[in-house]
């Protein structure tokens, strides 16, 4: 498994604004909220501690829906199967922003500052997404050096792949080394984490 900690979690502003519930695609925040939004974004930037990890494994596929990654990680999903058709290998990847944002969001909520909690949470969601995109790009580049092409990324809970798929993924990918753990209900802690698979041909 490879761990990288120098990737950036820098979301685009208009995406952050969109996630915060302002009109997406436009840099337009109501005057009365601009200062608070700026303040929360600055705070968010300080709270993130990006970390990422990934590994590559070869896979066996059995029509119509079975993908065997390892003994502990078998995916049963027709959609994933179709999407990964022709792939001989798979990247397992995960990123996290660390516990900073979660903690501060909880603190805001607890001190009757739900607005800031909401805004910061939105920032975190976009920052995590941006970090995952960075990791994905990194993986694409690495794959190219090996002569592989890559599929788009796919995560447990998408389509007909149950979110329970997290268990298998985390059994193989040791994401606890970058501080991610899974609850019984397959929720990643810290909340601002993303896991995914990427197929290689």
């Amino acid at each position: 498994m490879t761990i990288i900690d120098n990737l950036k979690a820098e979301p685009r502003l208009n995406q952050v604004y969109g996630r915060m519930g302002f009109k997406p695609g436009r840099h337009e925040i109501p005057e009365s909220m601009q200062e608070m939004v700026d303040e929360v974004i600055e705070l968010g930037k300080k709270l993130v501690a990006p970390a990422a990890c990934y590994t590559h494994l070869s896979i066996m596929t059995k029509a119509p829906s079975r993908i065997e990654v390892a003994d502990a990680f078998v995916i049963e999903s027709e959609k994933v199967f179709k999407w990964i058709e022709g792939c001989a290998g798979i990247y397992l990847a995960a990123i996290t922003l660390g516990p900073g944002i979660d903690g501060k969001v909880a603190e805001f909520s607890g001190s009757r500052d739900v607005t800031r909690a909401f805004l910061l949470n939105a920032y975190g969601a976009e920052a995590a997404e941006a970090l995952m995109v960075e990791l994905n790009n990194h993986i694409i580049m690495e794959a190219e050096t090996k002569g592989w092409t890559t599929t788009k990324r796919y995560s447990p809970g998408y389509g007909d792949w149950s979110i329970d798929g997290q268990r298998g993924l985390f059994a193989v990918l040791n994401a606890s080394e970058i501080g991610i753990r899974l609850t019984d209900t397959c929720i990643m802690i810290p909340e601002k984490s993303i896991s995914a698979i990427i197929g290689t041909k």
């Binding site: 915060m20 519930g21 302002f22 009109k23 109501p30 009365s32 909220m33 200062e35 608070m36 939004v37 969001v105 909520s109 009757r112 500052d113 739900v114 607005t115 909690a117 909401f118 805004l119 949470n121 809970g157 149950s162 979110i163 329970d164 609850t183 019984d184 209900t185 397959c186 929720i187 802690i189 909340e191």
Partner: protein, 804 residues
């Protein structure tokens, strides 16, 4: 060494010519690029000495030692830090040799240490101070006539150097900064602020050097000619440097500098020299040009006192509008601020700083007095936060000498120390601090025995403070007095007495006066009316600096009006700007003379949490009762929020913010409601289901619902099913609201509905969350599905009205 008086006498009697640029001269005489000029003091002494001689022969009457970069921190860049002593002492020796028998003065030169102080850079105040103090001691021991601090661009570093010089050297000190474009240093300090800080730290002359060419310096120095009677100095570069064939060239000819030397002298500058690129030829031409010109006797303008931040000087003057001290950064009676300070947080401090300045405060009082905290450290942090947030002078409000010390080290400009009483022990402790750090001091007319009962005694205490301050060497303009106010309800004769004392302090002592007015109304109804009436009386009796709540409309209006009536607002310029302009509707709106209910409506609508409580108080003062206010103003405002959200004019964060603002208001009003009259449309138990830890959405629903008259019992996140059932049963809940964000956890909702039915409780169940939809809600038998918080309100309202 010469005395400070000798220096001053000569500077007022004749124009004194300084020398030119040593660094550039040494470069033309063999100094390599990347080599420390000061190293020449050790290994090329003859070149340094000859350079001094050349300037002396050219006519310089003061030459500067080759120690510009001679502080240990700067020398360390060249691994010469351990030779600091030799380098500085040798430099003085060479200069003294070159001037021997000529009567030319030797000035020990001190330049920046090469590292910026916080917050611009990383260096703390103390090490900067100590490195300069060390250099000053070497120069002083080697017997320089005076010290010159040059080319400073950061006011905190300049302050450290000036303090170090003043505390370690008894002779004259010239203090200069460099202004990138003639208007500001690269870190944002203007010439008037530099003057204000240096003057307070007892510089003997203040000036400008390096910068660009003489043209820009001429413009900059003109701006402060009438602001001081101290001698002023300039040392311009020989024009803006240019790179020509790989070498730095200074384009200004000796004739050009000479022409400006004459201009400077005629304008009122007392000490004239030159900086980079100016050699002995330039100095010779300048000596020729100023021959026979006598210094102009400058007069200082009306300004009585000044305070400064990094880039802003506040002048306090009978001819200028009254300045406001903002009182809001003070934890007394403010629970949230107290808690934040206890937790070491400064969010509110920052917000208060920004908002107060926006509302018109000129100076910010900073008080962090909370029992059980490390006050010095908290004060240090608070000062940093405020200085970073706004550019306004600070009034350091503490009775703790260690906290004062910490704040004074952190300060970027010239602060006010608030405060010292007339007790001897206090005066002995605090007055020297003001002198040491170049601060103004606020004296209170009380002593061990409290506030005296007669006008004469109170005035006597004021006189004692002023005299003691003058005795230890504070300047008259840096001593402020607060005659104090008492509650007129408790002591009916004391308000009039305070006004009399105020007038007498002004007449007999002539110092700047400060007073907080809000105490006067304590214990009486309609406090705002009493406060503003007393404020206008105090302003008429000579109050210069009222301490007020800048958000108070009535205080601001009173001050604005008094400014015209007392002829402090010339041509009513400020007043007209604030209240006039019939064609400018926006200005009228900003002056905000609308009835309180309209203002309150907007406060909810735009979610201005900072002022909501104050607006509520204003409305209550104006005669509104709690229930009426809630029904006629607050609820309609919230309905407007909903309307705007539905028409996509408002976005979700605005809804949440308005809801929270409403809750703040409601919490205050609830204290006044007869309990039975508070509306309760139903009880709702809210929870994020077991296994799920996402609660942002549920928290928003909770906040919004509370404002619509529902009693919300929020159980939090990851709540066990049986707890939800139990609480719903116990509280006879009308509704249960469930939230889940994951496919793995939303199934729990079905179980809860099942268990509620089993237990025989039948609240209506509303579900929501990212993966939940209407069909899922129907499938599990929920009574409703809300896609967001506003939708939840709509559905619950429908159900309630349907039931009713």
């Amino acid at each position: 060494m010469i005395t400070r008086q000798e220096f001053k006498d000569r500077a007022y009697r004749e124009i004194i010519l300084l020398d030119g640029g040593m660094g550039t001269l040494l470069q033309s005489r063999g100094l390599g690029i990347g080599q420390a000029p000061e190293e020449f003091n050790l290994n090329r002494a003859e070149v340094v000495e000859q350079s001094h001689r050349d300037f002396v022969e050219a006519g310089a009457q003061v030459i500067l030692t080759n120690t510009f970069g001679g502080s240990r921190i700067k020398l360390d860049e060249y691994r010469l830090g351990n030779k600091a002593r030799e380098i500085n002492m040798n430099a003085v020796k060479l200069a003294l040799k070159a001037t021997n028998g000529t009567g030319v003065w030797v000035a020990g030169s001190i330049g920046p240490c090469g590292k910026y102080l916080k917050p611009v850079g990383k260096l703390d105040f103390a090490p900067a101070y100590h490195t300069f103090a060390e250099q000053v001691r070497y120069l002083a021991n080697a017997d320089v006539d005076l010290i010159i601090i040059e080319t400073m661009s950061d006011i905190r570093e300049a302050r450290a150097a000036m303090m170090a010089a003043r505390h370690n050297f008894d002779g004259p000190i010239i203090a200069q900064m460099t202004f990138a474009d003639g208007r500001n240093t690269i870190t944002g300090t203007d010439p008037l602020t530099a003057l204000t800080v240096f003057e307070a730290l007892e510089a003997d002359a203040v000036g400008i050097n390096c910068s660009t060419g003489p043209e820009e310096i001429y413009d900059a120095i003109k701006g402060i000619l009438t602001k001081t009677i101290l001698p002023l100095s300039v040392e311009p570069n020989a024009g803006m440097p240019r790179i020509k064939e790989g070498r730095t060239c200074f384009p200004a000819s000796p004739e050009h500098l000479a022409e400006y030397a004459r201009k400077f002298a005629e304008a009122g500058v007392n000490l004239i020299g030159a900086c980079c690129g100016a050699g002995p030829r330039h100095i010779r031409a300048m000596a020729e040009a100023i021959k026979g010109i006598k210094p102009v006797m400058r007069e200082r303008d009306c300004c009585r006192s000044r305070l400064a931040s990094r880039g802003r000087t506040i002048e306090i003057c009978d001819d200028l509008p009254v300045r406001m001290i903002g009182e809001r950064i003070n934890p007394t009676g403010r629970k949230k601020l107290r808690q934040e300070l206890k937790d070491g947080k400064f969010h509110l401090v920052r917000r208060e700083a920004i908002e107060q300045v926006k509302a018109g405060a000129d100076i910010l009082d900073v008080n962090v007095g909370v029992a059980g905290i490390d006050e010095p450290e908290t004060m240090r942090m608070a000062i940093q936060v405020v200085q970073k947030a706004v550019d306004a002078p600070i009034s350091i409000d503490s009775a703790n000498p260690d906290a004062l010390q910490a704040a004074l080290e952190e300060i970027e400009g010239k602060p006010l120390i608030n405060s010292v009483t007339a007790e001897d022990a206090k005066l002995d402790r605090v007055l020297p601090m003001a002198k040491h750090f170049g601060a103004s001091i606020l004296g209170l007319t009380l002593d061990e025995n409290g506030i005296p009962s007669t006008v004469e005694e109170r005035l006597e205490l004021a006189r004692k403070i002023v005299n003691r301050g003058l005795e230890i060497g504070l300047r008259h303009e840096d001593i402020f007095i607060d005659p104090l106010t008492l509650a007129v309800g408790a002591e009916p004769d004391k308000s009039l007495q305070s006004l009399t004392v105020l007038r007498l302090i002004k007449e007999q002592l002539g110092v700047t006066t400060v007073m907080g007015v809000s105490n006067v109304s304590f214990g009486l109804p309609n406090r705002a009316l009493i406060n503003r009436t007393f404020l206008s009386m105090a302003l008429h009796n000579g109050l210069d600096l009222p301490i007020v709540n800048p958000f108070s409309e009535s205080a601001r209006q009173t001050i604005d009006t008094a400014n015209i009536l007392l002829n402090r607002d010339k041509g009513a310029r400020v007043f007209i700007e604030a209240y006039g302009g019939v064609e400018d509707e926006r200005a009228v709106a900003e002056a905000d003379t609308r009835p309180i209910e309209e203002k309150l409506f907007d406060t909810i609508l735009y979610g201005n949490r900072e002022v909501i409580i104050q607006r509520i108080e204003e409305a209550l003062d104006a005669g509104w009762d709690a229930l009426g206010l809630n029904e006629k103003v607050l609820i309609p405002a919230l309905q407007e929020v909903g309307k705007r959200y539905n028409s996509r004019e408002f976005f979700l964060p605005q809804v949440i913010l308005a809801a929270e603002t409403m809750q703040d208001a409601f919490r205050r009003l609830k204290e006044l409601f007869p309990t039975t009259e508070a509306e309760n449309r139903g009880t709702i138990v809210l929870a994020t289901v077991k296994g799920d830890v996402h609660d942002i959405g549920k928290n928003i629903v909770s906040t919004v619902l509370q404002n619509y008259g529902y009693k919300v019992i929020d159980l939090g996140k990851n709540v066990d099913t049986k707890d939800i059932v139990k609480i719903a049963k116990e509280t006879k809940a009308d509704f249960v609201g469930l939230s889940a964000l994951m496919t793995t956890t939303m199934v729990e909702m079905g179980r809860i509905i099942h268990d509620l039915n089993e237990a025989g409780v039948n609240p209506a169940v509303i579900v929501g969350g990212a993966v939940v939809n209407k069909s899922f809600a129907d499938e599990i038998g929920a009574d409703g599905y809300g896609k967001d918080a506003m939708d939840a309100v709509r559905i619950i309202d429908l159900l309630v009205d349907g039931k009713a």
